[in-house]
């Protein structure tokens, strides 16, 4: 019974993540459309896109590593979903804490780097080298945030953190500076302006995605849904008190994901070295000051 229960959770947690993630993609596209005074895509647009990409007649593979890279990119996030507790379902979250989760969050970028490397497209190589540099930039504040939160809650388990916040106050009230640093890292992690140099459609033709087509592109679209969901739910669990039911958790997660998109169009695009400079300066400084208060 117990094993069956766990199996069901391992299936349902990524599935919920996928469906909610598609809604988040829709929300982001709607927000950018409304900001530009457009109507935006219809409700099922993310689903249409994914089905169409998987249904293409031509599927060009550039080799085995290309295939494995995409599987790593999607699989890393599926691994992350079952470590991310949601109301009613814990998966294996009790066994692997937030540290395991932050390792899992790096796998997709590395998988993409592998896959793009075999495409041998110069735009792709430029894009992925920029993406990995950006990862280096946002991971330092991200690790600081995770460390600070874990120290504050005296637990590396997300379940423990959520329980603490539901008894005491939300994390964002108790350590506001760390929460702001987390938002900075989130902007970089989601690759929104001003940290989207590695996509740069007009300059390097969407960088890492340049040779991706058909189901490979579809895999990346699926990855994006997981990415948004993970970012939203993780931030909500760390700072916004998680949730006792989906009705309280999902609005927080949607709000967290909506923030970067809403402010994205105010910014131009930073160069790669400037991305590192700004991400290693401000959020790290905020994080360190916050750590000084916490420790």
């Amino acid at each position: 019974m117990n094993a069956l229960h766990l199996m069901a959770e391992l299936i349902f947690m990524p599935l919920i993540a996928f469906i909610v993630g598609m809604m988040m993609v829709l929300m982001m596209r709607k927000i950018s459309a409304r900001l530009q005074r457009r109507i935006g895509p219809p409700f099922f647009q993310p689903l249409y896109d994914i089905v169409k990409l998987y249904g293409k007649d031509t599927q060009i593979s550039h080799g085995l590593i290309h295939d494995i890279g995409i599987i790593m990119a999607v699989g890393g996030y599926i691994g992350a979903e079952i470590l991310l507790p949601v109301p009613g379902m814990e998966g294996i979250a009790a066994k692997g804490g937030v540290i395991t989760l932050s390792y899992f969050l790096m796998i997709p970028s590395l998988g993409m780097a592998l896959g793009v490397g075999q495409c041998a497209n110069p735009n792709g190589s430029i894009g992925i080298s920029r993406a990995l540099t950006a990862m280096l930039a946002y991971d330092i504040p991200f690790i600081l945030v995770v460390f600070g939160a874990a120290w504050h809650y005296q637990s590396t388990s997300l379940i423990g953190m959520i329980e603490y916040q539901q008894v005491h106050q939300w994390g964002i009230v108790e350590m506001p500076l760390l929460a702001i640093a987390g938002l900075f890292a989130l902007q970089g992690m989601l690759g929104k302006q001003p940290f989207e140099i590695y996509i740069a459609p007009a300059e390097i033709a969407t960088g890492p995605m340049v040779e991706m087509s058909g189901k490979y592109m579809g895999g990346l679209f699926v990855m994006q849904t997981f990415q948004l969901y993970t970012a939203g739910v993780l931030y909500a669990s760390l700072f916004l008190g998680g949730g006792t039911s989906f009705l309280t958790l999902l609005p927080k997660a949607f709000l967290v994901v909506a923030l970067p998109m809403s402010i994205a169009f105010m910014f131009p695009r930073y160069k790669t070295e400037d991305v590192i400079r700004i991400l290693w300066k401000w959020p790290v400084m905020l994080g360190l000051i916050s750590l000084a208060f916490i420790l």
Binding site: I60, A205, M209, V210, E211
Partner: protein, 231 residues
Amino acid sequence: MKKELKIKQKERTNPLAHVFDDFIRFCQSKSLFMLHYCTGCGAIELPPAMTSRFDMERLGIQPMVTPRQADILLITGYVSIKTLKRVILTYEQMQSPKYVIGICSCTVNGGMYWQSYATAKKLNEYMPVDVYIAGCMPRPEAVMAGLQRLKDNIRNDKKEHKGSAWKDYFKRYDYYLGNQQALFGEDWQTPTDIIAEAKLYGLETEETYGKHTKLLEKHQTPLLPQEMRIK
């Protein structure tokens, strides 16, 4: 000379195959990624069609930047002979099902460049065109109507067979290659092996081959990976 060819269709054993096909076709008509090859003045009409006034995204159409990702190749204006080479290279790199839309009179019949020695007059002599949008230049309303027509064609492809013009490129490759060779010379060759693709999809007919493909075989040099060298 006519060749006897047996076209092998893949056997489909899934009883729900047609349902899946219909669903995929529906999604294809709802989600179109567009690569715009802006050659002439028609490009001016695209920004209003994409931005707040007419908003293509509500039809599920969004711009993409590489031929690998795109479904529609949108050619907006006159195609000079030099440009046409690039257009054909781009078209052959796209993933089927792929669609071509010719905007402006110049792609229909040469338009005001009819007497020019340097332009290709009719686009559909060199690649199958799904929808032409005539006008000099067509207004965004016309562009939107053309895109809507393409969506309807894709959706009703099962009955009317208007949304699969891309198959024509494989079925009648000799005709298209002949027109290309007439412009670019006998040794014209693209990096894509169309005949092999036609075999893969089971789309080769007797018109796939002809004297032009023979000429291509004579001049074809095998494609090798580029040598990596630091100068």
